[in-house]
Symmetry: C2
Subunit: 340 residues, 2 copies
DNA sequence: ATGAAAGCGCTAACAG
DNA sequence: CTGTTAGCGCTTTCAT
């Protein structure tokens, strides 16, 4: 209506023409260089505004070979612990003036590697992998191209790779200690499949029971980290001749499923049976649930992971690092002394 | 160790040289053109593989003026309804071979518009706005540049704008009808502030009460769509001389807070008091909560939104559309007849 | 079927 | 301070 009806978006060239200067000067001015006269700067800014000029980030990236973009791969968009890490990472990335390109393989390994490839084609400058199941070889080959940080998966090392995890051994020990302290001995465990964190938690459970001389009370029901899985695992346990007085679940979601099973059996939590989860997802804090749990510093993990990336991007010389954060007991309302 | 120690990534030019053909032919071959001889194609693919060639998406975008990227702005990464919509959108975008660029203003309007601007600089071909609070003028100006779809916010129209929402009026009516059907008359409402969906739900609550001749029983406590807000609002109501027999909360999270308040007061849900939420977030399905609620088709909204975008991108001629999906009652365990 | 040449919009020396 | 000259890596006519 008002401006030149030129169909295509205005380029730096159009701005230059309108301001009566050269392309380069426009480029400088628009990026706030100090060596541009006030007069030119004003003219350029005016022209840009009038034209509704918007820089083309692709062209800029191509020219200066920096995409200012970090790629994030999240295994699952719906598992609540992942968005929490994402949120921590995202805010750091934004503070540094970078962009976030998000992909998700959605539990499909083939899809996942295709998505990862696209990230690299986009010339991301750093890669954050939030996934429980990535082969070390895949990660290493990605890291050969671009600085990479892996969250939640330990033991992956290699040039260009950092990891940020939380200490599952310590966390599981804290959980067990909490139950021991309350006086429990008949403690059962709802396991979580073959993914690394779940395996560690189960192992520590067994070790701690043995160390406490309770080897014969060890009781593990197989869960799958879902609500339903926790429900079913707990149902099984509660029909035992000698049901446990406490349950340590491999994650919060299955712990909440276990709570439902207890209700079904007419057991009150924590009066009749104690339950402790793992993860510290936000919903556990809901007053209705008030789940005692071992909280991982999820947001912090995201933040730290992103910062590791920028350490490398900003040329700080860093050795590959495995950062292990300590989880924390949130003693809420689902654990107490056993009924005797 | 094995290949040319050339520091920089191989380009199409390197591949061409190695295969003994021209750049153009490599470009054609790699994109699967049929007019490339088998011999050339083999040589090119071999060379590309040996070099570990990876196309540069920025350069491609610049050259053919298509970024193959959709930008998504999510107001909050932590409100569970947003990731669910994101997930629906994301999978459609991926199926079409596009990428997702995610930004979030995190409740800060200034930040939000800066992030939106970055999305445009990245030459996104379409924009999805998942936010409860975006000025119509902002949306219109964005839509002037690129096809735009708005989720959860009604009433924004303009050239290039589609909206996908769910029918809050109908949903709220269903909620009220459900409670009426159960025989409730002393129905209270926990409101949710000034954002559009919450306002609609409250209005319908009032209308329905009046229409049922229950105007004098109208009782609204102000919540803020948080768990804590729901808790406090419900506490207030329960200390009334004549407490309600049912509560309609503006969203699930505050409904769950209300459940906690009921527990505090020694009231059993649903035996002593019924509670119905709104949204259909995944956690409401947890057996421990079993929250009756009005479910919005969140994933579907994401999918549909993305599809609207592609309708435009693929040149299908479409008029601007406001798609309204119907929500659905999930009658779970928190509602029943009043105690009398 | 293949190559040469001309950009895409921007940044980056390098001269003045 | 400002303009000129070269690209960045890829796609795309247009010839051959």
């Amino acid at each position: 209506m008002s401006e030149k009806p030129s169909d295509k978006r205005p380029t730096i060239h159009d701005v230059a023409a309108r301001a009566g200067v050269s392309k380069s000067l426009v480029s400088l001015a628009l990026r706030g260089s100090s060596k541009v006269s006030d007069a030119s700067r004003d003219a350029i800014e005016k022209a840009a505004a009038e034209l509704g000029y918007r820089a083309n980030a692709q062209a800029r990236s191509l020219a200066d070979r920096r995409s200012r973009t970090i790629g994030i791969n999240m295994a699952e968009l719906d598992n609540p612990i992942f968005p929490q890490m994402l949120s921590g990472a995202h805010s750091v990335i934004r503070e540094r003036g970078y962009n976030t390109m998000l992909v998700s393989g959605e539990r499909d390994p083939e899809l996942e590697s295709a998505e990862l490839a696209k990230l690299l084609e986009f010339q991301v400058e750093g890669l954050m992998l939030i996934s429980h199941r990535l082969p070390a070889t895949t990660v290493r080959s990605l890291a050969a191209d671009v600085p990479t940080v892996v969250l939640t998966l330990r033991g992956i090392t290699g040039p260009g790779i950092d990891t940020v995890t939380s200490n599952d051994e310590a966390g599981a020990r804290i959980a067990m200690q909490h139950l021991f302290d309350r006086g429990h001995t008949k403690i059962a465990h709802i396991s979580g499949g073959t993914l690394e964190p779940a395996v560690v938690r189960e192992r520590v459970y067994r070790e701690q029971m043995e160390a406490a001389g309770l080897a014969q009370l060890i009781r593990v029901a197989t869960g799958d980290l879902t609500n339903q899985g926790g429900l079913e695992a707990a149902r099984l346990m509660l029909t035992d001749s000698e049901p446990p007085t406490a349950i340590f679940a491999s994650n919060d979601i299955s712990a909440i499923g276990a709570m439902a099973a207890c209700q079904e059996h007419g057991l009150r939590v924590p009066d009749d049976i104690s339950i402790i989860g793992y993860d510290g997802v936000a919903l556990g804090a809901l007053r209705t649930l008030s789940l005692t749990t071992i909280a991982q510093p999820l947001t912090e993990m995201g933040r730290l992971g992103a910062e590791r990336l920028f350490d490398r991007l900003e040329g700080r010389k860093v050795k590959d690092r495995s950062i292990v954060l300590e989880p924390e007991l949130l003693a809420r309302g689902t654990t107490s002394e056993p009924r005797t």
